[in-house]
Structures are given as C-alpha cells and as structure tokens.
Symmetry: C2
Subunit: 489 residues, 2 copies
C-alpha cells in the first residue's frame, strides 16, 4: 500500500467515525429520552477522545511526507489533510481539552443567564472562554493575525481585512434600504390565523422535495432548532412548527434543505474522503440562503406556495401579490435568526466587529454589553430592551465560536453572486418555480458547485461557478430591486 493509500484509508475511517459522532448529536436533539442527558455527555466525550486521537495520529505527518498524489483531486485531498493536521498539531492537547471542558460548562451557564436575564452570571465563564480561544488563536496564527487564524477554521483563506472591506460596502446601503422600506407609504400585510402543525409538516415535506432533497438518503424530524446533520448518503434535517407562523417552518425547512442537498450532491467518488463535505461555512450558507431567499422567497415560488397553502388551509385573506409581500415583509426586531433578508446582515456585521475587538484585545468582556447596545442603537435606531434580546441571544461565543459569524454574511454575498450567474445560465427558472419545482435551479447549483465538495478553495469555487470574483454588488442590487418593487420605492 502506498503512503497515499494508507493515508486515505485512515481518513476514511476518521470520516466514518465523524459521521457516527454527528448522528449521536442528531439523536440528542430529536430522539434521546430526557433522562439520558448525563450519560450521553459521557458517550459524546468518549467519541471526542477517539476522534481527537485519530486526528493527531503522528502517522499522518509521515504519510503526508511520503505521499505522491496521482492527479489534481489527490493533490487537493492532501492539501486538505495537511491543512487540518497542521491546525490540530499547533494546539497543545491540554489547551484543546480545556477549551472543550470550559465551553461545555459555558453553554449551560449561557442558557441559564439568558433565561434569567442575568448577564453577570455568564461574564466570568465567557471571559475564560475568550482567554482560551485567544491563546489558541496565538498558537494557530504562527505570527499572523489571531482573528484570521480562527476565521480560517470556518472559511479557509478568508481574512478579516477582505471581509471588512466587503462588509463596509454593505452596511450603508442595507441601512438606507431598510430605512426607505420601513418608511414607505405602502406596507405589506402580515399573514393572520393559526395553521395546524401536521399540515405545516406535510407542506414542508413537499417543499423539501421541490428543492431536490433526496428522502431515500435523509429524513425530516422535528426539533427545537432546525439543523442539517451528516453527509453522503445519510443527511438528515429538522424543522419546527409555530402555529401562527407557518413561514417559520417552511423557510427553516428550505434553508436546511439547502445545507443538506449540498452534502447529498457531493460527487459520490469523494464520499468519506477529506474532500467529501461542503468546503466552508460561507459556501454552505450560500446554498441554504439561495434556496431560502432568492429561490424560496421569490415571487414565482411564493405564487405556488400561496396556492398550496390555500389548498391546505382555505382562504388566506390575501392574493398572491399580497402573500409575496407578507413572506418578505421587513419589521423591527432584536433577534438575528428572526431577521429579514435586508436586516439580517446588519446583525452579523455588529457581531463581526465586536468579536474582532474581543479577540484583538481592544474590547473587554466586561464592556461588551455596553458596546453591543450602543452599536445596535446606531444601526437599528432603537435600544435593546433586555440582555436576551441583546448580546445574550446567540450561543456562539459561549461555545467558543469566534470567527464564525461573518460566514453568514459571506454566504449571503456568495448567494447573490450565484443567483446572478444562475439566472443568466438558466433563464427559465421562474417558470419552474411558479409550478413548485426548484430543481432546474438546484440542478445548476449541484453541477456548478455542490458536486465538487472540498476540491476547490471557497473563493475559487465561487469564481468557477459564476465566472467572476465574488463581490457584494450582486446581493445589494438584488435586494434593492426586490424591495423597491415590494415597497413601491
């Protein structure tokens, strides 16, 4: 067996074990009996130990030294293994274990502090999490920028400087668009009524099928938080139902189908290999977002959804145009995950700037709530009322996810680029969407992007799919046009 083959066999087993661990996480959120939580913690910790040992196996270094790639794909496999191995090796085992231990505690304290609106109970442990992640960032940065070193885990090759420039261009135009829309004379109505959860779930299954989700290699269950889990031939999603807000269920489902089909559509030849998954968080989010927003919230598809809903629930009290407005309605709010297409990125930009300051050492945890609230007032025009509507709303920092937030907006930017290329390449997608079929669009995404898995770095992948370097312009132009029409601007 060549060194390359030995390395790939090792990585294949590692990938299989990562699937096992992921399935355990899925089970925890969907099936696990309540009383099993503590035991499950030990099971997860034992699996983490197994995975860590595999990822730091010193033979990986030997194999990498000796391996001779036979082609471009093999070269990319080695690039990916080396990237992951070098990152893992740079962090001392004791530090990695301490981060795992402290973030696990912090997650519980965060949940309690949020429920009790008691930020002071959370700040000490957050301070510890931040200190540990800053230490890790120093190890990873190897003399470079510590924040970039964290960001690189989620978005290989991205830098805060590039993102800052892109986000800087987004912010004023998003604020201006939001202000014009909320101040417009014409305001869309909201959907009224309550909608049977069983019917919502039935429609959400139709939506998943409409967007190309392969039920033979996946399943949909209910969970508190919608998510997608697994890769290859076993990619499961969850959704939730809120009786008075069926869009929550429907657009969560389409969003997760975007993540899930990306995983399902990776070339089977790459399955369980280092390149066998979506390439980055930003590209992943570009898929979930283009499915959810550009395709799912477009007038063509909401026209079909309007009919499907009236079939299930009777008269909705609005025609297809009104329904399109209701789906896309902008409104004031504190919560990122509930924000509309325009304001969502403003929530992300706030977090990006704050976490860079935290990692850079120019903002202390003790001053964070004040900084958050000041920035929120500036960007949104009204004050945060409670900590759970402010800096306590997201779990990310509690579990150490610094450098993750910007990938949400980067995903939206990529989605803008991809949508422009898609509409040029497949001009008749609206005709299919209007009949409840998104697959001409999702087939193009599969063939242009999803099938490559991790073969090309994120920016190169977007360039290959769109023929251009990614910029924020297509997203902004799309948003301006869409909301100008809805609000009569």
């Amino acid at each position: 067996m060549t060194a390359y083959d030995a390395l790939m066999a090792h990585q294949r087993e590692l990938a299989a074990l990562e699937q096992v661990s992921g399935r355990l996480g899925w089970d925890q959120e969907t099936m696990m009996p309540r009383g099993a939580a503590e035991q499950r913690g030990e099971e997860m910790a034992a699996m983490s130990g197994v995975l860590h040992a595999r990822r730091t196996d010193p033979r990986i270094g030997d194999w990498l030294d000796a391996a001779e790639p036979a082609d471009e794909v093999a070269r990319a496999q080695l690039r990916e293994v080396r990237r992951a191995f070098e990152r893992t090796c740079r962090v001392p085992a004791g530090l990695a274990a301490e981060i795992a231990r402290v973030t696990s505690i912090a997650q519980g304290q965060w949940a309690e502090a949020r429920a009790n609106e008691a930020p002071a109970d959370f700040l000490p442990v957050l301070d510890r999490v931040l200190a540990l992640r800053r230490e890790e960032a120093q190890c990873l940065a190897d003399g470079g920028d510590p924040y970039d070193a964290l960001l690189d885990a989620y978005e290989p090759g991205a830098t805060a400087a590039t993102l800052d420039q892109m986000f800087g261009a987004l912010r004023p135009r998003l604020v201006a668009l939001r202000d014009r829309a909320l101040g417009a004379a014409r305001q869309p109505a909201t959907l009224q009524g309550t909608f049977d959860p069983a019917d919502q779930l039935e429609i959400s299954r139709d939506l998943a099928a409409a967007f190309g989700y392969d039920f033979r290699r996946g399943r949909i269950d209910r969970a508190v938080h919608p998510f997608s889990s697994g890769s290859g031939d076993d990619v499961r999603i969850t959704t939730r139902t809120v009786a008075h807000d069926p869009f929550n269920c429907f657009y969560s489902t389409i969003h997760e189908v975007g993540h899930a089909t990306y995983e399902q559509n990776v070339d089977p030849a790459l399955a369980l290999s280092p390149l066998g998954r979506g390439v980055s968080m930003g590209v992943h989010e570009s898929q979930s977002r283009i499915y959810e927003n550009q395709l799912g919230r477009g007038a063509a598809f909401t026209g079909w959804l309007h009919g499907r809903m009236e079939g299930a629930f009777g008269d909705l009290g609005m025609d297809a145009d009104g329904f399109y407005g209701a789906v896309n309605r902008l409104q004031k709010g504190y919560i990122r995950t509930e924000a509309d297409e325009v304001q969502y990125n403003l929530h992300v930009l706030l977090r990006f700037d704050l976490e860079r300051a935290l990692i850079g050492g120019t903002l202390a945890v003790a001053d964070m709530e004040e900084a958050w609230n000041a920035r929120f007032l500036r960007d949104f025009g009204y004050a945060v009322d409670t900590p759970s509507n402010g800096f306590l709303q997201d779990v990310h920092w509690a579990v150490g996810l610094f450098g993750y937030f910007p990938t949400y907006t980067l995903g939206n930017v990529y989605a803008g680029c991809l949508y422009r290329a898609l509409t040029a390449a497949v001009p008749q997608i609206d005709r299919s969407l209007a009949s409840g079929d998104a697959t001409p669009a999702t087939d193009w995404l599969r063939d242009s992007l999803q099938r490559f898995g991790g073969q090309f770095p994120p920016r190169e992948l977007i360039e290959r799919a769109t023929g251009q370097a990614p910029t924020e312009a297509p997203l902004l132009d799309y948003l301006d046009a869409k909301f100008a029409e809805i609000y009569g601007l």
Copy 2:
C-alpha cells in the same frame, strides 16, 4: 491514580463507546434512511475497530496485575474485566477479523437463501462460519470443551453437561403436556378480527408502564423485529403490529420491557462499569420471560387486558376466561419465535443438540437439514414442509451464534424458579396484576436480582434471589398446573 482507578476509567470509556455503537444499531433498525445502508456498514466497521482496539489494549493486563480491589464489588469488577480480557486475548486478531467478515457475508446469504428456499446457496458459507467458530472455540477452550467455551460467552459458568441434564428432564414432560393439551376435548377459542395498529401501540405503551418501564430513560418505536437496546439511562425498545394478531405486539412489548427494565434497574453506582449490565443471556431471558409469561399471560393480568382491549376495540366475542385461553392457546407450528410457552423449549432443545454436534464435529453442515427434519418429526409429530420453516428459520448460526440457543431455555427455567420465589415472597401480586399493575412483582425482581447487574455469577444470582439452586422443577410444575386448568386435563 491507582491501577484500579485507571482500569475503571478505561472501562468506563469503553462502556460509553459500546453504548454509542449500540445506538447506531438501534438507529439502523428504526430511523436510518434506506439509502444509507452501505455507508452505515463502514460506520459500524469503524466503530468495531475502535472497540476492538480498546478491548485488547495491553495496558489492561498491566492494570489487572497491579490492581488491588478495595471491596467485594471491586473484586467482582476485576473478575469481569479479567474474564473478558482473557477471552479476547486468546483469539488471534486475524481470526476475530475473519469471523466478523465472514459472518457479515453469511447473514446476507442466509436471508437470501431463506427467502428463496434455497439451502444449497447457504451451506458453503455456513460451513466456513462453523469452521471459524470451531477454530475460535479451540483457542478459547484452552484444552477444555470447545462448546462450553462458546457457551461461556453468553452464560458464564454454564456447561453443556449441566444443561443437558436439565434439558433431558424437561423434554419428555413438555412433550407429554403438549400431547395431552392438543388432544384434549376442551380447546380454547382464537381471537377473531382486525385491530387498528395505532390502538395496539397505545395499549402497548400502557403495558410498558404497567411493567415498570421508565419512559424518561427510554422510548418505544416500531421495527421489523422487536428488540431492546442500550443500558443505564438510555434503554430503548421496539415493537411491531400485526392487524389480526394484537398479542404479537402486546407480548413482544412486555418481553422487551423485561429485558429493558433489567438494564434500567441495575444499581446506578454500577453504570458504565464492567458490572453495569445484565449478567448473562440466560438471566436476561429469565426477566423477559417472567414478565411476558408468568406475569403477562397469567389469568390475573389477562383479565385486566381483556377489559382494556374491549374498551379500545369493543366486544371481543369472549369473556375473560375465554380470553385467558386464547392468549395461552397451544397450536402446531414450525417457528420457534411464534411458539407457545410449552413448545418453545422443544424448539430450543433441538437446536442445542444439533449445534453441539456441529461444534463437536459429529455432524456435518451437509447433513444438518436431514438431522433437523428427523428430530423435528420426532419431537413435534409432523414433518417440516420447507427449509424456511426448518433449519433456515433462525439467523443465529449464520452470524456465528453457536452456544446462544440454550440460554433461551435456561432463561425459562430461571423464570420458573424466580416465579415460585416471587409468589411466596409477595403473595398478593395477582391482586395488582388484575388491576393492570405488575410493579409489586417487578419491584421484587428489581430488588432481588436486577439491581446487582453483573456482580454475582448467574447461578449464584438466582440462588440468592430464590434461596435455592436452580432446577427445572418449578417451571414444569407451573406449566403442568397452568395448562391442566386451561385444557381441563
């Protein structure tokens, strides 16, 4: 950290990983998308590799040499670790891997041969499985009896000679009782009609609760084959529904609840330790069988079930006495898993004798079908009609489970002993059972037996619980009395 503590920490992680692997098996039978089967095979194989490496970790030997037990429980922990470690070390890694590989192939070939009634397609691979297991038995026996060495994996301390004596006493009395019952003038009626699966499942949840199943630490799902999976705080069961045969669902559920509550009721102080599970297959089966038969199929409980069913399904066309007869009705049949309380053990005894001859080398795989059919005719009085009703009916031998079958009948014998002791210790159990509550009985089983996990060897455990060495007499006396009454013998 002492050697004992280090060993226990290692075993605890091993037990946690075994839980993960078991949950993966549960998922495969209940939740897994159809298209994920091949990928799942790789995931399971990777987990097997992880578990095998842990079980053969050479440090276990060092720790065992150095460990000093502080008390009786610690001594029992070490006994159990040594037992498992010595067994594992005696089998060369290559042989263990080959057995895993070949039995995996054999299972598929068995299923196909059974479906096609084509035994010739299965015999070559069965021959290979048998040869490998005979080789393994030689390694394990260390000069002793090879069959005993295999049996010891499922029933520590049991020997074929002891079982043979016990089973020899059972056989003529079971045959005689069966012949008298089937020849009796009075024959119970059968239940007629079809019964909504959803209602069956609702009743089966009541049954699980009636027998003390802790839903907070478990769940019930549907699967092709009923089973119990997991230990400690996450013990799940499955059941199935057959529209015209609700007893299939109900008694499968009670049976699996017997297995599951045994696991749930082990002393939490033993959780995830080498003693933290049921001690043997025979004792496990004693629990499932006493729940299902002595308690669940007794007149007191079927009286309650009769009322519960009439509440759900309307008039059943029989009174409580007739219903009791219908639940316990003897009938001709080829299939072990469908057999009644009296004839079930005859099916097992046939397999026990045949597999001893196979392992002992006095029966060749090529002659097995003939031997099976001749013995079946002798014990049951009519000829096997098709291979799937004969020696192809069970998966056990295909997957290498030689030495497992006798634990089914041993479990019934133990159940007989326990039931005699239980009725003496808790004289009023029938009053509770008649009101749909088995917990005074199951509480006694928990306190007398289940809570000890693996602390005492099987026979000693039964002796402690019953005050007597186990014999077949209580089971036979119970069956004679029960069926004499039902059939008016």
